[in-house]
């Protein structure tokens, strides 16, 4: 078995830094007992001894940035909550995880739900909130089960409810299951959905920090953002800043998927590269090479094998013309037809478009029509410019960022693979064999073994 030379230079122990995932391999990793054994709820003890504003300052100084896609500084978001306004404040955790390719929050909640719960209590103490919600996408019942269990354990142990740990601080936490709609991951659509309405985005301003849930000051944060807070409390901001870069400090979960030898979760500092991750994890599947990948879900522009050394942090991926997004590293090898991939994502956006604004509702529909034709060999050469033109009318002109996301795969794939689109048109069909891309393409005996 050959091992790439770079493995000798960069050992997995050095590239990776499990924090949230550090004990996922324990038999009962999701229980309060296990969590406590690994220092769980120590961060909360420290936070409760601090003034709320000092907790906000600490999180701000740590440099933690939102892990839900946009990378907004978490401490700053908390600071925006007006104080002494006499209104209730709310924390809403965004556990809607539906961006194609994104698969970090769900395993995190399955294996270690208490890290989120501890983060929630700390965050609510900081922003003076007595009611928090976890908005979990509905299609993940195993995770719902573990959340129900963890929340019950936390109430029982006095981490939730009246007078948390004797501090005089009260906190109620409600787990809310969604009902299937990608757009509900967008924070204002999520709030409408949580208010019992169709999940359609709201006009901003006012931002949720001023008028969010029930028109009250509300923080919406991603699961991983909030779950990262307890470790900052226990180990300090300097420890957190010892990882990553000045502007993108800390650790994060990278999700490798697709035609790689070992898909899965890899937790490490921000700023490592896809090449490093592939080197330590066994690379692409044997005999194949990387063709294109997403750095952070399907809404982040595609990158190619030219970009293997791009530092996976907010600035690095931005400079390469894409976005770090959710760090969903979907890797496709040379057997994959980029037109098929983009057509399928575009069908997804068309299906999930909430219909509120015209550019996205109509644009995604027409982009699907054009892409289906091109994929089926019925496209015309002028279709490519028409596709770009429509994408241009969706991008930046839609009501919310779903529209921008829908345009991303189209712009970026045409930038790097225009010639492949043209081959579909001139050759009147797709030159790829989908059977070669399947997980079982190299295992004729798989069915016997399985």
């Amino acid at each position: 078995m050959t091992v790439a030379a770079a493995i000798n230079e960069t050992s997995p122990e050095k590239v990776l830094a499990p924090v949230l995932s550090a004990f996922w391999d324990e038999p009962n990793s999701w229980t309060l007992e296990t969590y406590r054994r690994h220092g769980g709820y120590e961060g909360l003890r420290k936070a409760l001894a601090m003034a709320p504003d000092d907790v906000i300052a600490l999180v701000k100084d740590s440099g933690l940035r939102g892990r839900g896609g946009a990378g907004f500084p978490t401490g700053m978001k908390w600071q925006f909550i007006p104080q002494g306004d006499g209104k209730p404040h709310y924390l809403v955790v965004n556990a809607d995880e539906s961006e194609p390719g994104t698969c970090k929050d769900i395993p995190l909640l399955f294996a270690n739900p208490h890290s989120l719960l501890e983060g929630i209590v700390i965050a609510c103490h900081a922003i003076r909130s007595n009611q928090a919600f976890i908005y979990l996408r509905g299609e993940v019942v195993p995770v719902l089960r573990r959340l129900h269990h963890a929340v019950a354990e936390a109430y029982e142990a006095g981490y939730l409810g009246r007078n948390v740990q004797g501090s005089g601080f009260d906190l109620e936490l409600t787990v809310h299951a969604g009902a299937g709609a990608y757009i509900c991951g967008e924070e204002t659509a999520l709030l409408d959905s949580l208010e019992g309405r169709r999940g359609q985005p709201r006009l901003r301003p006012p931002f949720p920090a001023v008028a969010g849930l029930y028109a009250c000051p509300t923080v919406v944060n991603n699961v991983e953002s909030i779950a990262s807070v307890p470790a900052i409390l226990t180990r300090g901001k300097d420890w957190f800043r010892s990882m990553g870069s000045e502007k993108s400090p800390g650790f994060t979960l990278y999700s490798l998927s697709g035609h790689v030898a070992n898909p899965g979760q890899y937790e490490g500092p921000l700023g490592i590269t896809l090449r490093q991750l592939l080197d330590i994890s066994g690379g692409m599947r044997p005999g194949h090479r990387l063709k294109f990948w997403t750095p952070g879900g399907s809404s982040t522009p595609l990158l190619t094998d030219e970009h293997l050394d791009v530092p996976l942090d907010y600035e690095g991926v931005g400079a390469a013309g894409s976005m770090l997004g959710t760090k969903a590293l979907q890797c496709f090898d040379e057997t994959t037809c980029v037109v098929r991939a983009v057509a399928r994502w575009t069908e997804f956006y068309a299906h999930e478009s909430c219909g509120k604004c015209t550019p996205c509702r109509e644009g995604t529909y027409w982009m699907v029509q054009l892409l289906r034709d091109i994929e089926a060999g019925k496209g015309r050469s002028e279709d490519l410019d028409k596709l770009l033109d429509i994408a241009d009318n969706v991008n930046g002109k839609s009501f919310c960022a779903l529209g921008d996301g829908a345009a991303s795969p189209i712009f970026s794939s045409l930038k790097y693979f225009r010639e492949e689109y043209e081959r579909h048109i001139t050759g009147q069909g797709c030159p790829f064999d989908p059977a070669l891309s399947t997980a079982w393409a190299h295992q004729p005996h798989l069915e016997v073994n399985a």
Partner: protein
């Protein structure tokens, strides 16, 4: 199956029948419990729609009227919400909902082939139900399990790393009433029981929470590497001669 009324021209539909009294009493007690979890009662609408789905297996007009009455909304308001979300079924469907992920990554890794194989094997199309009422087939969007592609969900429990053969065996088992064990999740219950959990009522079956262990194999690959438990050499090309990605395989926990 539904008996849809014939198209009527201008004559309003009669109100749907109410639930039988004892059903209504039981549902109302549940609904009050759900409503109490929220500062504003309307927030309980999504869970209540899950609750009425737990009663009948789909969101019927009776269920819509029930939600409207409890939350003091119009049936039009409730219908507008229930039709926005894909998890609410609009017609009676199977006991097991089999969803094949056909978003790009799973599709490319074999989800398309699995979906085709199942359509052919079951003789039904998307969103259709087998005659025995056991299986409703659906293609679904990315279910946040791409590192286990291709993924099949049954009643929203994970069946990871599927093949056309394994998926066919799975639906055969479901139809024959044989137990099917998810890769991640608890032993299957019916669609209606699942809907009740979604309404916010915890699974009370013994062993359900702990079933299938802490984390799935793909969730652990990075951790095992970082701990030096998997030698880099061993993990190269694990797909040759074995199905479990990662050195250990599933049986380790």
């Amino acid at each position: 199956m539904t008996t849809e009324p014939p198209v009527s021209l201008g004559i309003p539909e009669m109100p749907p029948p109410d639930y039988p009294a004892e059903v209504r009493a039981r549902l109302e007690a549940d609904a009050r419990e759900v409503i109490a979890r929220y500062p504003d009662s309307r927030s309980a609408l999504l869970p209540l729609l899950h609750l009425v789905q737990a009663e009948e297996g789909y969101v019927s007009r009776t269920g819509i009227r029930f939600c409207a009455q409890l939350l003091e909304l119009t049936t039009a308001e409730v219908t507008a919400v229930s039709t926005f979300y894909t998890m609410y079924r609009r017609k009676p469907s199977g006991e097991y909902q089999v969803g094949v992920c056909t978003n790009t990554l799973c599709a490319v890794m074999g989800g398309d082939a699995i979906f085709e194989a199942l359509q052919e094997h079951l003789g039904i199309g998307n969103d259709e139900t087998t005659e025995d009422g056991r299986v409703t087939l659906q293609h679904i969007e990315c279910n946040a399990a791409c590192d286990y592609a291709p993924v099949v969900m049954v009643n929203w429990e994970f069946f990871d790393n599927q093949t056309p053969e394994s998926a066919k065996r799975l639906v055969d088992d479901l139809r024959a009433g044989r137990a099917a064990q998810p890769t991640r999740g608890a032993p299957l219950c019916t669609y209606q029981e699942t809907a009740r959990m979604l309404a916010g009522f915890p699974d009370t079956r013994t062993g359900a929470v702990e079933a299938t262990g802490g984390a799935g194999h793909a969730s652990l690959v990075g951790l095992r590497l970082a701990k030096g438990e998997t030698a880099p050499g061993r993990i190269v090309s694990p797909r040759e001669g074995g199905i479990a990605p990662g050195a250990g395989g599933e049986g380790e926990e």
